[in-house]
Symmetry: C2
Amino acid sequence: MSEKGLDQLEQLRKRLDEINLQILELLSERGRIAQEIGKVKLKSGINRFDPVRERKMLDILAEKNQGPFETSTIQHIFKEIFKASLELQEDDNRKALLV
Amino acid sequence: MSEKGLDQLEQLRKRLDEINLQILELLSERGRIAQEIGKVKLKSGINRFDPVRERKMLDILAEKNQGPFETSTIQHIFKEIFKASLELQEDDNRKALLV
């Protein structure tokens, strides 16, 4: 690989590392908010999982997605995020029940 | 659910929607950078998939993760993002070969 190519690659990878950490930060904040939502729901005795709400979030993402990822890919990644958030709420609730 | 609870839920969901869109934006930017990297690599004839680089990114995420998600959960989500990025590069290269 040419020196110019290596230099370019290095710069692009640096940017990728920055974006990874920004995504991590947003995911973590999202996790904390999901925990808050779980607490509010637990207090009210309503179910944590709300498929209508999840569908609405996926629809908004489809509407806003401008690529380069296919909407199906974006939705697949977000479904993993939703699943992780739900597990976080379930863990919290289990702990709350044990107290 | 009490009015206060509903109001709280509404606020938290609004914040969640904002964060979803911020994550979408970062994912899209990440996708574009992955495409750039793919082009540089294609020009240089080097392999797109680099397991050492991927491991390094996962290690950095493990080091920086402060919760509430488990590191294994964060890494699982990022592996999905890496896979999607690789597929994006592969699609581009296929198109480049067809030109």
